[in-house]
């Protein structure tokens, strides 16, 4: 497995990265942890003229609280995110999710910016991103902009990241303090990627009525999705096993469920229901 020939440049700031992208005029590709890009290079599925190494840009490594949101710099590795105090305290579902990505080597090298930018339909992170209303923060030729997950990821390995720009950070909403969360994953026995991954943030009010419910599902189709139909069935209901069970029947409603060698669409639809029900129970009981 040997990639075709490419040049390599290291950049030390976002501006420099953008300049390089411009100069290379479509031939340049950013590399962060390399854990998605390098396999593609080796299979010669992508043959960029040059790699622009952004992995040492300090400004992409911050984690900070900004009002009701946590902003996590794109270059934080899965390991760093899983062990970050701010993340663990305010958005534990993110820590729980990235802790289940790949193995220790992958978590040590792979970055959350790379994971989102790569838009692998089977990635874990998008599930957590969805339930935390993630905003993708981008710096480009014309300045900064922000997109939500739905508009950023539009297909397998396809994003709306503008040309010559860098994903700088992901900003997550801090859920209300009375909520709890979970990420439940069925790992593919070969790849370790989710056959299904369900993230849930939910809570009940003092009258045991469900007043907060975010459910997102990844791994079952081309893109991860918010299971809004489930959320709607839950909200305003008094918490009970039946309510959860019934709401979970709608788990596949908002997604485009796909087939693959390991599992058919029909089976995945079943998994959507079962895993959603189990994740909800884990959070609400």
């Amino acid at each position: 497995m040997i990639p075709s020939k490419f040049d390599y440049v290291r950049v030390n700031s976002i501006d420099e990265a953008i300049q390089q992208l411009q100069q290379l005029n479509g031939e340049g590709k950013l590399i962060a942890g390399g854990h998605s890009l390098v396999p593609l290079l080796k299979f010669r599925l992508t043959e960029p003229g040059a790699l622009i190494d952004i992995s040492r840009i300090a400004e992409l490594k911050e984690v900070r609280k900004e009002g009701n949101r946590i902003v996590v710099g794109a270059l934080n590795t899965h390991f760093q995110v899983a062990n970050n105090q701010i993340v663990k305290e305010h958005i534990p579902v993110l820590a729980e999710t990235v802790r289940q990505i790949g193995d220790i080597q992958v978590r040590n090298r792979g970055t959350i910016g790379g994971n989102i930018a790569h838009a692998d339909p089977a990635a874990d992170l998008p599930a957590a991103a969805h339930v935390l209303d993630a905003k993708i923060m981008i710096q480009g030729e014309d300045g900064a902009e922000t997109m939500d997950m739905e508009s950023f990821v539009i297909g397998p390995l396809i994003t709306m990241l503008p040309e010559n720009s860098v994903l700088t950070a992901i900003s997550f909403t801090i859920p209300p303090s009375h909520t709890k969360s979970a990420y439940l994953k069925f790992s593919h026995p070969a790849s370790g990627y989710p056959v299904i991954g369900v993230a849930v943030v939910a809570g009940v009010d003092e009258n045991n009525m469900i007043d907060y419910a975010k459910v997102a599902i990844t791994g079952v189709g081309d893109v991860a999705y918010r299971a809004t139909a489930v959320e709607e069935k839950l909200l305003g209901q008094e918490l009970s096993e039946t309510v959860i069970k019934e709401a979970s029947q709608y788990a596949a409603e908002d997604g485009e469920i796909a087939n693959d060698l390991f599992s058919s669409e029909e089976y995945r639809r079943n998994l959507c229901k079962v895993y959603t029900e189990r994740a909800l129970k884990a959070v609400l009981f």
């Binding site: 497995m1 026995p189 070969a190 390991f262 599992s263 998994l271």
Partner: protein, 781 residues
């Protein structure tokens, strides 16, 4: 005598490997070394119309590109080494590069040689091959049909061989009170050693010697076969297996690629290195299994089995590989009755060519498949007549007093006591208690199950006379030379070729105990045809039983000679010498003694030897056992099935194996653990899947599910020791027990868990979806 044999010594080979001082094929760097890559067919079946290498030759650093046509007449086809008799075996020639037609995805089309790995790959991608695709033959049953595409035009119905053994009279079947028919598919799997294949060739034009380092489990077989393919004498061809990251049968085969590397090194007079890539390994390295097995089992309501009829339709791939034809015939067909006293049995095997990668021996080779069908069939029969799976086994198994026991197909099992491991395993798992708990859990809707496998396997290859009789192109005796140096340390040269099994440790223990010298004074040499005179390599759980025995015999011969020298020096007769813990002393006068070291010196100095005794202290043995060995045991799996998702949790796994004398319990357990991982992998996760066009859909570890350590519970293992009478150390074989026994134990456990649904069989691997579907379908009924 100090016990060394039977103790849990840590492996002698590990410090080197874990401190990075091993030398694997890819560690070998030779001055002026070139790199090789093989361009492989992307099509399962196609005619090669044209190959254009012009652009590729322009890549800086490219030295040569060979196509099949370029090699015509220069390098011969790579033959199989197992001409099973009386089965109308038809061998199609396998040229190292396809000449005008490719027959599987992975078939070699061109060999590229360049300075450096990058140039070689860049050039490889620039070779332009024009193909005209043909429809491929893929599955074995379809490929046997009259209208199936032919893999080799002159081989009708793609039938590579048709073998039969044993007969079952019709009236026996008619008289049976109960019978079960079932078809099983023991799916194709990838042996997947952690190190892929590799070869490095170096030719010395001055001496005419070609040295080939290659990932071989049997360098002497490689030398013998390649000497013919490359037309070079064995005296000029040296084959070395460096440190290897496993083989599991996948490195028994003599492959086209190794021949190509040897050829290129000689043709270019420069060293050439080829390291297989993992995705290449998934197309061009032999796979294991791929047998459709149809079973009919007959018997009485009291549980006695009266007859077994088996048909095996074996997908051999596009060519017959080195051991390929023996797997589903001899190895499988003669062992179909397992441990049971079944009076009548028959096996009919169809070997079928297809447009897929060849299949060959894989850990257990034929025995896991035979064990699978009998252990599954006996369970199905028990269900049919409403009998407990343990009881039916007890009723039918050969008893201690039946040994040496002749099975229905005429094989004579060396020794056995099947009740011993069965009792022990039942105790370990607490069978009665489990059944009670199961009742309770079932009431609560939980699906737990227990599965048994009481297996026996044919190991320790073996008597050479038999090898000749079954068409195997090799002797299967084994060789060892024990050489004692002047200051008393010892080098042992062995014909087996370890690649992870730990022979340096176990064989060292045998020598240490015999000669009474410390392990550190013993060096083992394997795997080099220039230093080891002859040998047949490591496979078929033969190394300790055959190779270890020859080590023991050679060590005894050293002692015999040393005793004569000691007697001479101590001025007594040989009969008066006793040898214990490295000391030769005189019976009755223990103060009169010589140490092993002193005698080593005397023998090598030869200043004062008895008359008729030649200098030096060295002895060899060429041990040819009188029979195979037949390890056995009981494995028990406990599983829980998640009925909503079909996921299976392996809760407990108990393995009680009887492998004869256990030389080192620690390494023996290691062998059991590894075997279990692979056997359980076959049941639950692994499986190579081809599309209708003959594309491997599971060609990377993203899709091919190799089990990981965390998939397993802590294995509960134990041994019983029933010695083998057919070799001097009483050892059987341990390397393949795990793979042989575990697959049906898991399946039987899952089927037991699914009993409330009336589910009898599900095709392997038991993916969650298949299990979920079976449950949903039966609920729908």
């Amino acid at each position: 005598m100090t016990k060394v044999v039977g103790t849990r010594l840590k492996r002698k080979e590990d410090p080197k490997l874990i401190t990075g001082h091993g030398s694997f094929a890819d560690d070998i760097q030779l001055p002026g070394m070139l790199h090789a890559a093989v361009l492989r067919s992307p099509h399962a079946h196609a005619v090669i119309k044209k190959i254009n290498v012009e652009e590729a030759l322009k890549v800086p650093g490219v030295v040569a590109i060979y196509t099949g046509k370029d090699l015509e007449g220069k390098i011969g086809p790579v033959p199989t080494s197992w001409y099973v008799p009386d089965c109308d075996l038809k061998e199609a020639p396998q040229y190292p590069l396809a000449i005008d037609r490719v027959r599987y995805v992975g078939d070699g089309v061109a060999l590229v040689i360049a300075e450096g790995r990058y140039a070689v790959k860049d050039a490889m991608y620039l070779i332009d091959v024009e193909y005209e695709t043909l429809s491929p033959a893929v599955g074995q049953k379809e490929s046997l049909k009259d209208n199936a595409p032919l893999v080799h035009d002159d081989i009708e119905n793609n039938l590579a061989f048709h073998w039969k053994a044993g007969t079952v009279p019709e009236e026996v079947c008619e008289k049976a009170e109960a019978s079960v028919k079932q078809s099983f598919y023991v799916q194709r799997v990838a042996p997947s050693p952690i190190e892929t294949r590799a070869a490095i060739g170096r030719y010395n034009p001055g001496t005419g010697e070609l040295t080939l380092w290659c990932t071989s489990q049997n360098p002497h077989i490689h030398r013998m076969v390649l000497s013919e393919v490359l037309d070079i004498t064995e005296a000029k061809l040296r084959v070395i297996s460096p440190d290897m990251g496993g083989g599991f049968g996948g490195k028994i085969g003599v492959y086209p690629d190794e021949a190509l590397v040897g050829f290129a090194a000689r043709d270019l007079c420069r060293p050439v290195k080829w390291i297989e890539e993992r995705s290449e390994h998934f197309t061009a390295a032999n796979f294991g299994r791929d047998e459709v097995i149809d079973v009919e089992i007959y018997g009485q309501k009291d549980g006695t089995i009266t007859a077994l009829r088996v048909t095996n339709t074996h997908n051999v791939g596009a060519y017959l590989s080195t051991m390929g034809p023996g797997v589903s015939t001899i190895d499988f067909g003669l062992m179909i009755t397992g441990i049971y006293k079944i009076p009548y049995a028959s096996c009919e095997t169809f070997g079928v060519y297809t447009n897929t990668t060849p299949t060959d021996a894989y850990r257990g080779a034929g025995k896991p498949e035979s064990t699978y069908q009998i252990e599954r069939a006996i369970d199905l029969f028990a269900k049919e007549i409403g009998m407990d799976p343990v009881e039916i086994r007890r009723i039918n198994m050969a008893q201690k007093e039946d040994f040496p026991f002749t099975n229905a197909q005429g094989l004579v099992y060396d020794s056995g006591d099947y009740e011993k491991p069965l009792t022990k395993a039942l105790e370990m798992v607490d069978y009665q208690k489990f059944r009670e708990e199961q009742k309770e859990l079932r009431k609560r809707g939980k699906l737990v199950g227990i599965g048994f496998s009481t297996y026996v396997e044919l190991c320790g290859f073996g008597p050479s006379k038999v090898a000749g009789g079954i068409g195997f192109q090799g002797g299967i005796w084994e060789n060892a030379t024990v050489r004692v140096h002047p200051r008393g340390s010892v080098t042992v040269y062995c014909g087996t070729s370890p690649h992870g099994q730990g022979h340096a440790t176990t064989f060292g223990q045998i020598v240490s105990e015999k000669l009474g010298i410390p392990m550190d004074d013993i060096e083992l040499v394997f795997s080099d045809t220039k230093s080891v005179s002859m040998g047949w390599g490591t496979y078929g759980s033969r190394s300790v039983a055959v190779g270890g025995s020859s080590v023991a015999i050679a060590a005894d011969r050293v002692i015999d000679k040393a005793k004569k020298i000691a007697a001479h020096e101590l001025e007594v007769s040989v009969e008066e010498i006793v040898f214990e813990e490295g000391i030769f002393s005189v019976k009755g006068s223990p103060s009169l003694q010589r140490t092993f070291k002193e005698i080593a010196k005397s023998a090598n100095m030869a200043w004062n030897l008895p008359e008729g005794i030649e200098p030096s202290l060295e002895a060899s043995s060429y041990f040819d056992p009188e029979n195979f060995v037949y390890p056995f045991g009981t494995h028990i799996a406990v599983v829980e099935v998640d009925k909503e998702t079909g996921q299976i949790e392996l809760k407990r796994y108990v393995a009680v194996d009887d492998v004869g004398r256990v030389i080192n319990p620690l390494t023996a357990e290691g062998q059991v653990h590894g075997g279990l991982a692979q056997g359980i992998g076959q049941a639950l996760w692994e499986g190579i899947v081809y599309s209708k066009d003959g594309q491997n859909l599971t060609g990377t570890f993203m899709d091919y599910a190799m089990p990981k350590a965390r998939f397993f519970p802590k294995f509960e293992t134990a041994f019983t020791e029933t010695l083998s009478p057919v070799n001097p150390i009483g050892a059987k074989g341990v390397g393949e027990t795990g793979t042989t026994a575990s697959t049906p134990a898991i399946m039987n456990a899952v089927m037991d868990a699914l009993e409330p649904y009336g589910i009898k069989d599900i095709e392997m691997p038991l993916t969650p979806e298949k299990v979920w579907r079976a449950i949903s379908e039966s609920e729908g009924k």
